[in-house]
């Protein structure tokens, strides 16, 4: 399978990428690891006229500690994240999730920025950035801005990124206690359900992916947990649960409760 024709441009700065996005608009796509984009292009589900390869931008694959935060460059691969001592120590839940993405080869190429921008409803990181209250840093023609993870996901493959913006980094607070639980779709290894729980004293923050077309913070679980109720039972309260050939609404709802329970008990 060969994608439709496109023009390939490799940029060396964020500014260059933003200029090209502005110039080509909807006809352009950003290429980072390419592990969601290229398969879609090969199936001709997506046929951009211009690919802007951002992997040559220096510094965008770094992982640094900045005060109370760990700042992850958008071009960091899943393998980099799971092997980074800084991530293992300070945002361990991110390393846990990275280790569950796809397989070795996919983890060696796919990036956190690409995954977040793509916003696949079954991707792993959305649950983690939501539970961690991470901040997505985006740059566009009007400069740089920070988007709270809770304001980032809008729907299936849809985010609040503007057409001229690219993700440059993700800022994570240090997370002492976090756990990611995932029920795999066993062939693709996407999450049928993925649940990230971050613990802070007696309260928890719960991010859920794979269940709805938009990843969400399970606030009903968080409130019930604080009230010592059976928190996991509230995993899909007020949520429109997805149905597909891997899991129908009833089964997926059940899985969500089980995964929340496991993550809370971990």
């Amino acid at each position: 399978m060969i994608p439709a024709k496109f023009e390939y441009m490799k940029v060396s700065s964020v500014g260059e990428a933003v200029d090209l996005l502005e110039k080509h608009g909807f006809d352009a796509k950003i290429l980072s690891g390419g592990h969601s984009l290229l398969p879609a292009m090969k199936l001709r589900l997506n046929r951009p006229e211009v690919l802007i390869d951002i992997t040559g931008i220096s510094g965008m694959d770094s992982i640094t500690e900045q005060g109370d935060e760990i700042v992850i460059g958008a071009n960091c691969t899943h393998s980099q994240l799971l092997r980074s001592e800084l991530v293992q120590k300070q945002v361990n839940i991110l390393a846990q999730a990275a280790d569950t993405v796809g397989d070795v080869q996919v983890r060696n190429k796919g990036t956190i920025g690409g995954s977040l921008a793509h916003a696949d409803p079954s991707a792993d990181y959305p649950a983690v950035v939501l539970a961690c209250d991470a901040v997505i840093v985006a740059e566009g023609k009007n400069g740089s801005r920070e988007i709270a993870a809770t304001d980032f996901f809008e729907g299936i493959f849809t985010t609040t990124l503007n057409d001229d913006e690219i993700i440059t980094a993700i800022r994570f607070p240090k997370i002492a206690k976090g756990n990611y639980q995932k029920f795999y779709q066993s062939a693709s290894r996407f999450a049928v359900v993925g649940v990230a729980v971050v613990r802070d004293g007696d309260s928890v923050k719960v991010g859920v992916t794979g269940v709805s077309d938009t990843p969400y913070r399970a606030t009903a679980v968080e409130e019930a947990y604080a009230g010592n109720g059976d928190a996991a039972e509230h995993a899909v309260d007020d949520i429109e649960v997805m149905s597909d050939h891997f899991a129908d609404v009833e089964y997926r709802s059940h899985l969500a409760k089980v995964m929340v329970k496991r993550a809370l008990e971990a």
């Binding site: 399978m1 024709k5 490799k10 390419g34 398969p39 397989d103």
Partner: protein, 154 residues
């Protein structure tokens, strides 16, 4: 677009269309058919090569993305007519049946052993998640990779 890739230690410079995958470039332009096309959708791992030392699925990598990189394919594993220890181990432990998935298995094994020189069975199974053997001969593949670790560490 002009690209230059060092493949198995030898530099190749060619004019390619941006939409051509690294697999197609290897097989069609360079006639290096050791890298197999199985699913062509980044599921099966038959097309695995290493890119700057890391295992990647060459069907999901444009040749232009590999411009300037070091690529190793199955053809680059044997040195001076001597099989690589991973290949030797696959031979000794009957790690191949029909052989179609074997190039990918050997290349991903190189990545597994690079990061875990003494892998447990679970480490190997986790590492092989992206490689399918439709003869379902995984047991011997796992034994082969364990044996390869012994040969390399000897």
């Amino acid at each position: 677009m002009k690209i230059s890739i060092r493949i198995n230690g030898k530099k190749h410079t060619d004019e390619v269309e941006p939409r051509i995958s690294l697999t197609h470039y290897l097989r069609e332009t360079l006639d290096m058919t050791g890298t197999h096309i199985g699913c062509d959708t980044s599921a099966c791992g038959a097309c695995t090569v290493t890119l700057n030392g890391d295992a990647v699925k060459s069907c999901t990598l444009l040749a232009v993305q590999a411009d300037g990189a070091e690529v190793t394919t199955i053809e680059g594993m044997a040195k001076n007519g001597e099989m690589h220890p991973i290949q030797q181990a696959f031979k000794e432990k009957h790690g191949l049946q029909c052989g179609f998935c074997t190039p990918g298995m050997v290349m991903v094994a190189a990545d597994i052993l690079k990061h875990t020189p003494n892998p447990s069975e679970e480490d190997i199974r986790h590492g092989l998640k992206g490689n399918f053997c439709r003869c379902t001969g995984y047991h011997n593949i796992i034994k082969s990779i364990q044996h390869a670790a012994e040969l390399i560490n000897k």
